[in-house]
Subunit: 276 residues, 2 copies
């Protein structure tokens, strides 16, 4: 593992690290904020999964989550959104290939050799984090934005017992019914739609739900409502009597100004679960 | 004036606007955050001047100042750092020309026709803001980072009575003695160093100071300490018995992680002066 940068940030440190990923077959970069509390012992971890076109950097520089995380005594992990580099397949479209991993393990060429973001986030990166940093991997929570909200929802429901709390900002909520989903699942997973189901938050919510609190924020002026399909997830949460809240936030759109505006509440929500 | 974007942000709105600048002889872009309080009447204004290589966008997306400004009922203005566009002179170096206006009125070719950032920030942009938005231009404050900290200090001391409070993050504090200053003043203002003096915060502090509170934050791990020369300004502030504080912040560097970490305190500092 190589240190790319470490900057003092609030009472703690914002680091960026690169490591050779066996799972993805390429170098992977991630951001990690360690709060001041990590100097006295292992701290719980909040994962932040980013959206289409993003890298590890966007939320780390734009959301100012570090201040709230430092106050709460929580580490923040900012993984990249796909494998990258020479020899890694790509596509001209912004929503396929590099920057658009969709948090699945590809089974189809040309994506199969590198696009294994599910295993990377579920297995390889947490093992590395637990070994290298003062983190209490028995206390994890997860959130994300847009495609990263999809990742947070599907990973949290797909790995029961792993995360204590789950939140998302404007998640891709029903990808098997959306052009943000059908296109990518066809490419990465192939035409058998049965293999898609475990990567659809609405279907997972209908079938099993999440054993803990869930917080979803969605802006009413989001320019991608037709692709996100929040109504499908809201209905599934209500039908299941899922503990938590689905909040429609008046006037907000899909930008980081939306995220920035509610980051304090999301960190506080996870802190309550992580320090319960 | 053209609206480039307006995004709901906390209780208010983050806008980006472009206008034809007579002073700079080109289109200029700025960001303006209006807090919720602006819906009920004019609010005071905090100027944020950015550093080398920055545009109007950096602080607007990276510092999360909007949350604190919304709470305090203060508007935030994020001007660009230079004229831009075709026909505007430029240089290959990152620290001269576009992105490096240094908040002066150039008197030398090829900079003279467009590089008039002092007049732009001192006169043209405030007039536009006062005419177009619900702002109380009798209550203004100013801050900035690095080259923008230099701009905040020199404009605030150079326009007595304009700003109620003044702060800076890691400002270029003594540019007439630094390669961040001598190079640019030579290019923009020519070889007569007498014309440079009113653009040097340390010299202005020695000669006149600021009629109000001043807050300076500087990181001890700043990679540009030799160029910033904080010790010169600190000495001048102390020698003048300038009201305010010069704070050395242990471990922090020159990045936006430093800014982000102290933004709450700077906004609160200005709010106290603006709502006194």
């Amino acid at each position: 593992m190589e240190i790319k940068s470490e900057n003092t940030c609030f009472g703690g440190s914002q680091g960026v690290y690169t490591h050779a990923s066996e799972v993805c077959g390429c170098d992977m970069t991630f951001g990690l904020f360690l709060p001041e509390a990590a100097q006295s012992g292992p701290v719980p971890v909040l994962w932040y999964l980013s959206g289409l076109t993003c890298t590890h950097e966007n939320a780390m520089t734009k959301a100012a989550a570090q201040g709230w995380a430092d106050e709460a005594g929580i580490a923040l992990v900012f993984p990249d959104t796909s494998p990258r580099g020479e020899g890694v397949a790509n596509d001209e479209a912004y929503d396929l290939g590099q920057g658009a991993g969709f948090y699945v393990n590809a089974t189809q060429d040309p994506w199969k050799p590198h696009f294994r973001m599910w295993d990377y986030i579920a297995d390889e990166l947490p093992a590395l984090l637990g070994a290298e940093f003062a983190l209490d991997m028995d206390r994890q929570a997860i959130t994300g934005h847009s495609m990263g909200g999809h990742g947070a929802l599907t990973l949290a429901m797909g790995l029961p017992g792993r995360f204590r709390s789950l939140s998302a900002f404007a998640p891709i909520a029903n990808p098997t019914k959306s052009d943000w989903g059908r296109k990518q699942f066809s490419a990465y997973l192939g035409g058998d739609e049965a293999t898609w189901a475990k990567h659809d938050a609405t279907l997972l919510m209908q079938q099993q739900g999440f054993d803990g609190p869930v917080l979803i924020d969605q802006g009413t002026n989001d320019q991608f409502l037709d692709l996100l399909k929040p109504e499908a997830l809201a209905e599934a949460m209500a039908a299941r009597l899922q503990e938590g809240a689905f909040r429609m936030q008046k006037g907000f759109d899909h930008s980081y100004f939306f995220m920035m505006s509610f980051m304090e509440e999301h960190v506080a929500f996870h802190a309550e679960a992580l320090y319960a």
